[in-house]
Symmetry: C2
Subunit: 87 residues, 2 copies
Amino acid sequence: MYKAKIFVNYKPSVLDPQAQAIHKALVRLGDDNVATVMMGKYFELTLTATDVDAATAQVDRICDRLLANVSMETYHFTVTPVGEATV
Amino acid sequence: MYKAKIFVNYKPSVLDPQAQAIHKALVRLGDDNVATVMMGKYFELTLTATDVDAATAQVDRICDRLLANVSMETYHFTVTPVGEATV
């Protein structure tokens, strides 16, 4: 069994109104020392696979087809055997 | 300058229809070896602060007040000086 930790974010060139709204709210709340706000989606999948390469290839395909809108978003992920600690 | 990496997820007891919909879509696409799907929000903030403890306390307050709905969601985060590599 493998665990995939997937991060999906807007490309830098894409305007993120939600992150901007959060930044404005922070300033209104007095947290004006916050310089930048970036917001994204985070997924954790567990899947069976023959080996880590097979799991990695499958997760990449899943991100490309379903989890990320590749015209506007980028993604990166880690795949580890379940039981091995990462962050 | 400090960078906070924040993860906000539903509490285990809370039903996540979006994650369920993704799981069903994966099965339809033939990825039926995916056992579990968890989805959450991911934020990166950069902020100035006197020291890492002050930055940590502020980020905790920001999560509690703005980024997480603490009745349904949990959050965890890391705070590191900008320039020090983490995952």
